[in-house]
Amino acid sequence: MSDLVTYLTRLGDNTLVLGHRLSEWCGRGPALEEDIALANTALDLIGQTQMWLGYAAEAEAKGRTADDLAMGRDVWDFRNLLLLEQPNGDFGRTIMRSFLFDHWHLLMLRGLTQVSDARMAGIAAKAVKEVAYHADRSAELVVGLGDGTEESHRRMQDALDRLWPYVGEMFIGDEVDAATAAEFGAPVPDMLRAPWDDAVLPILAQATLTVPDGAFAHQGGKTGARHTEHLGHMLTTMQWLHRAYPGANW
């Protein structure tokens, strides 16, 4: 797989996996406005998936489509961050997962709007507008719930503690990142940590949440080396219909 294809697959798998997770909330949100926002965010992310995986499939040039990539690959071929495949848990954990990712995603997309590959820059330019809204919304909820009642505070702190070990993977670069940075000027993950801290830490402070100690980071999602057990179950649901009737046109 070329570095470009891997890079695009990572972007598309991130949006696919998170978009799917958010879609699991359908009709079950804590308030009508949240149902609308969750569906809307999921829709944005699935739309971005179509663009990233569509480009990945073309760049790969093996005659596959975005749908073939989304519905036809097994766990070990997925390249999303481990954070995103974590189950929804309660609404607090769902929002915290989005919050931690959204701010990274926003920085990443801002960088990608500047790359020399016009198609990649174009997709990023469209996605960045949507993701700026995702980041605002998740930040607002983190603050509201972190600094809400005793119970909402406790649940948000639990969510942060539970998800924190999956944060580090967002900032660990590898040879694919180095190659795309050299070729197109794509952002280097290590360089995103400081601006991410600048964006996220003040919001967590405003939310009266304590940033957990420890820099331990689970890895293996973006390389595909070792996903969590959760992804397989997600794919079982997501891919079942497509796989049960091979070749069908829907």
Binding site: S23, L43, A66, L141, L145, T149, R155, W250
Partner: protein, 325 residues
Amino acid sequence: MYAQMIKSEASQDDPEKLAAFQARIDRGEKIEPKDWMPEGYRKTLIRQIGQHAHSEIVGQLPEGNWVTRAPTLERKAILLAKVQDEAGHGLYLYCAAETLGISRDEMTEMLLDGRMKYSSIFNYPTLTWADMGAVGWLVDGAAIMNQVPLQRTSYGPYARAMVRICKEESFHQRQGFDVMMKMCQGSEAQKRMAQDALNRFWFPSLMMFGPSDKDSKHSAQSMKWRIKMNTNDELRQKFVDQTVPQAEYLGLTVPDPDLTWNEETGHYDFTEPDWAEFMEVLAGNGPCNRDRMEARNRAWDEGAWVREGLMAHATKQRAVSVAAE
């Protein structure tokens, strides 16, 4: 039609005021929230708009059942957009009902403890992907039959909400028909799924219009007030007349052996749905009533800490901004 068997309230108001109110309606004027209105008009509308709003909310569940299993990214996106529209419809409708002096939370509590209803159709399960087509084609199709005339209903906020809703619903109906077309042009298994979906949704869709006119006790007052624009049987006939040729185009068989074109009337003759089954569904014995209510109650209960947390934060913020003044 998402409002069924809406009980209309008799009014005990001053006869002169009532006559003047009726004259406004007869002249085609819109009634606005601050205008005088008979208590019965207000209560009947709350019931009707509330039931419609609840139907949009509960209606997310049978579709949510397939969002996670949609067969392609495009189908997943379309279904998400549809579910999002439905939650949005619920929101406008609750807002329209709130102009009549009831809060969304009160209406929600009434849905959750069974005092208010939602359309019987959402108590039927969605078992295959073809059901996403059938729901769009038949259920949204039936809803539009009722909602298009309601754009001219006498209550202003309801009529205006309906204008926007109708645009989106007709888009949903076309999407549903498109799913059915793909299935019917597809493999044998897909065709079988499509026929099975029509078999299961045909009669429940006919039930959406409510009981036969001869058994519909509440229609006359509501029609006089222009909050119901056509009788149940008129709309049902219109739906059948529109839908049968579409089924033929798809190559599907409507599951009614007595369905025939009547040259004399210019309409299809068809078998009425099983009204005993309809009454059972309304009484809580449809295939999914308990599942649907459990899901809505769970969402509400499990969301309590979120709503309370956000309220508490907003209160703190207000206190901070007052202290700063």
